[in-house]
């Protein structure tokens, strides 16, 4: 009897201590709330859009679609967090820069071109280079000048949107080619949002990288003990730098989606506050924000939990401006319950509870 008890205990313990536990529980909780509120929440319907193409619609599709940028950013943010023990708060601003560069290439400095001036792939590659350069700038400050990541990235956070506006002379060019809009919506004939495929591609890429290189091991080693990893032949400066550059690529992909959704850009609004959501995704995934060990999948899951929360709040008629207040409460509850001190306290409470139960028996 007592033995099975013990086994059960250790199973529960194992489950609770798993990193995926918090995001999955949060996801389930949100699902249940929605189920009670409106069972229709989970309905997915196949309809046609304005252009007459078949599209899937429903709240779940919305979550999958609009969570994409966040999911992609979570990949890079997790690596930066793990390697440098800090976060990049400039991602929103660098999305603006990369997006602006992309538009500049596509529209050639002309705000109302009749056709695109360069192939989309070229524009995207330019955006990638710009994103990587921004990442390299942050990475240089952090890895070489040893400035704390949050402060180093404060520079681009402050200047980013201004630089983005400057790239296009503060004009808002519109991309004339409807094909460009495919990335942020649907490819004709395929009812699943394109963003879902982009995320899947990114996840596969990072999974392959983590599986077939030592990126994960090196990053964690550098994040935990820089001195030791250096004496083991790892180059911590390069690894930190690399993590920022990888985040730069993620930023470029996110920028592609963001810009494609509108076919234009709004410098002060595009990807606003997304850095906060990306950091929260990492934290929700149970990764220590002070760096070290990380779980990539938990972070990505965390990103979708946040999008799920956003969508749920919209469903409850929360205005988009007030959204932040509710999110904040949820975030605080989450971090409070995952705080070690609170966990210890609760463990003690439950111990006392079981003990008193035994005494009664």
């Amino acid at each position: 009897m007592s033995k099975t008890d013990k086994n059960e205990m250790s199973f529960v313990k194992k489950l609770v201590s798993n990193q995926l536990f918090i995001p999955i529980m949060a996801l389930l909780l949100l699902a249940v709330i929605n189920l009670i509120n409106d069972p229709g929440f989970f309905k997915i319907t196949l309809g046609t859009n304005n252009a007459g193409n078949p599209v899937l619609s429903g709240y779940l599709i919305t979550i999958l679609d609009y969570g994409s940028e966040l999911g992609i950013l979570a990949i890079g943010m997790t690596l930066v967090t793990a390697a440098s023990g800090g976060q990049d708060i400039s991602v929103g601003a660098t999305i603006a820069i990369a997006g602006s560069a992309m538009l500049r290439v596509l529209c050639g400095g002309n705000s109302r071109p009749t056709e695109i001036q360069a192939p989309i792939i070229v524009a995207f590659l330019v955006a990638c280079v710009v994103g990587m350069l921004c990442g390299a700038f942050n990475g240089m400050l952090v890895a070489i000048f040893k400035i704390q990541p949050m402060i180093a990235t404060l520079i681009l956070f402050t200047a980013g949107r201004s630089i983005a506006a400057w790239i296009n002379n503060n004009e808002l060019p519109i991309v004339p080619d409807p094909k460009f809009a495919y990335f942020g919506s649907f490819i004709p004939g395929i009812p699943i949002p394109t963003t879902v495929f982009i995320v899947i591609a990114c996840v596969i890429v990072i999974a392959v990288v983590l599986k077939f290189t030592n990126l994960g091991l090196y990053t964690q080693a550098v994040g935990i003990n820089e001195n030791s990893s250096r004496l083991n032949g790892i180059n911590p400066t390069f690894i930190k730098f690399l993590s920022f550059v990888i985040l730069g690529i993620c930023v470029a992909v996110a920028a592609l989606i963001k810009v494609s959704r509108l076919s234009t850009i709004n410098y002060s609004v595009i990807a606003k506050d997304i850095e906060m959501d990306a950091i929260l995704a990492v934290a929700l995934g149970g990764n220590a924000l002070s760096g070290g060990k990380f779980n990539m999948w938990a972070s990505i899951l965390g990103a979708y939990v946040i999008q799920f929360l956003t969508t749920t709040l919209y469903k409850f008629n929360v205005s988009s401006d007030a959204l932040a207040a509710y999110k904040a409460v949820v975030v605080i509850l989450l971090v409070v319950f995952s705080a070690p001190t609170v966990r210890d306290y609760m463990a003690q409470l439950s111990k006392k509870f079981t003990n008193s139960k035994k005494e009664v028996a």
Partner: protein, 344 residues
């Protein structure tokens, strides 16, 4: 070891070293502005206007410095300022409240924020960045929940207070028509200066002030030295948030309206001012006087940029960022040099 040869770096402690750099750079910059741009910069009122429009920033930046010296960070201050403005505006305008009442509301919001954030950071050991991030989200969201649309306050008493000018003797100038125009500051500036002096005294001479430095320098050591680390962290957040509340009122007094988009990015300006003023983000190093000059440097550069005709909005952002970048590099290089000098 050759510790007899003492360089200038050895004699000064970190705080004084960075403070000196800041003050010197500020004066050089202002002097440069006077020489090369002349015009407005030669008039004392230009300087007082910088104070007038940045009184709130001075107050919040001072609070930020306290938290940063203790080794933490608080990015909720901009949100708190907006929330305070909106609440006070609604109270004065829609409920026809009194001035005293609105001041109480402002300080009350600040204290409440300090209590909650301080508790979460100090006693539950949650990272200050995350706590204040949520705090910022909450404040911004709450502001729109209190009132979505921005509006101006029409309360007479309040507007009388808002327009109160305190003349600075001997600093006036004579305008083209030969009429003497006295230089003035707003009430907020007086509040800000009082707070700067008060905090300077607190950080320099009081036990709790020194504890901030100790905890920021090394948390573990501070505990071993018999300092109540949790309480000290809690106090630092209390001070920061309360000052954000007061700063919010001063901001409100300056702009006279409530809006959800008030004080956007003020937290970043406050952090930038503290850093420019020589506060190290790693904690333990910093000075309120430095922060004061940090705010002045930041706004002077903004003024230089706009009076140089580079009025497009993006230049402000870029110059602030460039300046932050330069100061961070100076800090990083100076500290590295110092470490190197010590090793040999």
């Amino acid at each position: 070891m050759s510790r007899d040869k003492k360089g200038i770096f050895d004699k000064m402690n970190d705080t004084n070293l960075l403070l000196t750099i800041t003050i010197v750079i500020f004066f050089l910059m202002y002097l440069g502005a006077v020489i090369f741009q002349g015009g407005g910069f030669t008039k004392p009122q230009m300087f007082f206007n910088i104070l007038n429009s940045n009184a709130a920033l001075i107050i919040t930046a001072c609070g930020m410095s306290v938290v940063m010296i203790t080794g933490g960070i608080d990015i909720s201050v901009g949100g708190v300022v907006a929330l305070v403005s909106m609440c006070c505006a609604v109270y004065l305008d829609k409920h026809n409240g009194s001035i005293i009442g609105s001041v109480f509301i402002a300080i009350g919001i600040g204290i409440l924020y300090g209590l909650i954030q301080g508790f979460l950071v100090a006693y539950l050991d949650i990272q200050p960045f995350i706590v204040s991030l949520a705090g910022m989200f909450f404040a911004r969201g709450m502001t729109t929940i209190v009132n979505t649309a921005p509006f101006n306050v029409a309360n007479e008493q309040f507007n009388a207070l808002k327009l109160t000018r305190i003349y600075v003797p001997g600093m006036g100038t004579t305008n083209k028509k030969g009429i003497y125009v006295p230089a003035y500051v707003e009430i907020g500036v007086i509040v800000a200066l009082l707070i700067v002096i008060l905090l300077f005294v607190v950080l320099r001479w009081t036990k709790v002030g020194r504890n901030f430095y100790a905890v920021g320098g090394n948390k573990q050591s501070a505990l071993m030295l018999g300092i109540n680390v949790k309480r000290t962290k809690f106090y630092s957040h209390m001070i920061c948030s309360t000052l954000a509340g007061i700063g919010g009122y001063v901001y409100f007094l300056h702009v006279g309206s409530g809006s959800a988009s008030h004080a956007m990015g003020m937290e970043m300006n406050a952090i930038a001012s503290s850093i420019i003023g020589g506060t190290m983000l790693t904690g333990g190093v910093g000075n309120i006087i430095g922060t004061f000059f940090g705010v002045l440097s930041l706004s002077t550069i903004q003024n230089i940029v706009s009076s140089a005709g580079l009025d497009q909005a993006w230049w402000t952002g870029i110059t602030i960022a460039a300046m932050l970048c330069i100061f961070l590099l100076i800090q990083s290089v100076v500290m590295a040099q110092k470490k190197k000098a010590l090793k040999n």
